[in-house]
Assembly symmetry: C2
Homo-oligomer: 232 residues x 2
C-alpha cells in the first residue's frame, strides 16, 4: 500500500500537503475511495480512505490507527561529523532511519572539512527513508552543532566516542544493553587529540568498532547496527 | 601516503598503468624519489620509491613488502541481487570491500527488476574501495549468475539465505563462527517461494537479520557486518 507523511490531523481526518497530494494523484494515480497509509512522525501509522483528492489538497478519513508503530526499545543519538562528500552523509542518514535512530546531530569538529549542512535536505531524506521503511517516528535532525556543545551536554545513559587513536577501548559489541545511548563519530581526519581528551574528561567512553578504520559514514552505520544487534 | 593498484610486477619493480601514472603525476604531483604504497590485489602491500615517472608510465622500486595485508580469518561470499537503482548496489559493493569480502556474486532471481550489470563498473568501485580502505586482497567479482546456478553450487561451510517470508530462521548473530560462509540476499521483491524452497532443499539455511525488513543493499551490508562482528 502507498504511504504518505502528514502532521495535519483533525478529528478523524488527515490532510496531505500539496506536494504529497500531487504525488498521490498524479504519480500514484489515486482516486477517491482508495485506501492509503499515512504516518505522522509521532509514532502513528494510519490506514485511511481518500475522501477528497486534488493536486493541491487531499483529505483522507482514518479507518485504523496503529500507535507507536515500528519503534525500538531504546533511545539512540548519532552525533556524526558531516563528510566532505555530502552524498556519503546522506547515505548514513538514510541507513540510520532504516535501522532506527532517534536523533541525528551533525557535529562541527577541529578536522571537519565540511562546516555547513542544509538540514532541510537531510529532513527530506529522513522523510523518504521513513516512508520507505515504515517508520512512524520521525527522528530529530539537529542543526550543525559545535563539538564542544555536544561534549558538555548532559545526555542520560551511555555516551561513547568512536575515535581511531590508540588506547583502551570497549568493543561496541560488548557494552551492556543501554536504554539510552549517544555515539560520537568523527570526520575524515578523525577527532583531534584535544577533542578526544575533552570527551574523556566529560565521561564519554572510547569505543572500538573493530580492528579496521572505517570511513565516517561506514563507522556511523556499523556502530548503529551494533547497538541494534545488542537487542536482538 | 598515496596508494596505487598494479599487478605489473617484475623483479623488485612495479609498473603503474597509464591511468594510475597520470593520476600519480598530474593529480597527486609525485616526482622521482617519492615514496608511495602499491597494492597488487593478491594480498601484498608494497612500500615503493618512484624511479621513473611520466604521464603514461611509472616505475617504482619495492622497498618493503607486507604480505597478506588486511586479510580476515574467514572466507565470505555475498550473492546479492542487483537493485533497480544501481547506485544502491554500488554502495553495497563499496561497503562490502571496506568491511572485507572475498567474492561478490550478482544474482538473477525471479523478482529481479535489474537483469544486467556492468561488471567493469563494479570492478572500478572495488579498486577504488580497496585503495581507500587499504585492502591488498582483490575480491572476485562474478558476472550476473542465475539463482539456480548458485543454489546448486557446492560451496563449503555455511550457506545462508536471508529471505523475508515467515518461517524458522537462525539469527545471523548466533551462527557458529564459520570459516567459510556464503549469504544469499534477494531483490526488492524478495526471493520467490519457489526459490526459497529450492534453496532449503539444497541445504541453504534461512537466516534472520533482525525484526525489520531492509532494503537489499542494507540487508547485504548488515549481514556482512554481522559476520565480521562474530569474529571480534
Amino acid at each position: 500500500m502507498d504511504i504518505f507523511y502528514s502532521e495535519l490531523l483533525q478529528d478523524s481526518h488527515i490532510a496531505l500537503s500539496s506536494d504529497e497530494s500531487k504525488h498521490c494523484m498524479k504519480v500514484l494515480r489515486h482516486k477517491t475511495g482508495d485506501t492509503i497509509h499515512v504516518i505522522d512522525g509521532k509514532g502513528n501509522l494510519y490506514l485511511c480512505r481518500i475522501t477528497k483528492i486534488s493536486q493541491k489538497h487531499t483529505i483522507a478519513e482514518i479507518l485504523e490507527t496503529h500507535e507507536d508503530y515500528g519503534s525500538h526499545q531504546f533511545t539512540v543519538r548519532m552525533a556524526v561529523a558531516p563528510t566532505k562528500n555530502m552524498q556519503r552523509y546522506e547515505f548514513f542518514v538514510e541507513k540510520a532511519v532504516e535501522l532506527g535512530v532517534n536523533e541525528i546531530i551533525p557535529i562541527l569538529t577541529d578536522h571537519s572539512e565540511r562546516k555547513v549542512v542544509k538540514t532541510e535536505r537531510i529532513e527530506r531524506i529522513v522523510l523518504a527513508a521513513m516512508k520507505q521503511s515504515y517508520k512512524a517516528h520521525k527522528p530529530i535532525v539537529h542543526e550543525m552543532t559545535p563539538f564542544e556543545d555536544i561534549v558538555f551536554e548532559k545526555y542520560p545513559g551511555y555516551k561513547a566516542i568512536a575515535h581511531c587513536e590508540d588506547g583502551d577501548k570497549q568493543s561496541v559489541m560488548h557494552i551492556a544493553k543501554p536504554t539510552d545511548i549517544t555515539i560520537l563519530i568523527g570526520p575524515e581526519g578523525d577527532f583531534s587529540l584535544k577533542e578526544i581528551q575533552l570527551a574523556m574528561e566529560n565521561n564519554w567512553l572510547p569505543i572500538s568498532l573493530g580492528p579496521q578504520r572505517f570511513r565516517t559514514e561506514t563507522a556511523a552505520i556499523m556502530a548503529l547496527h551494533s547497538v541494534h544487534s545488542l537487542f536482538e
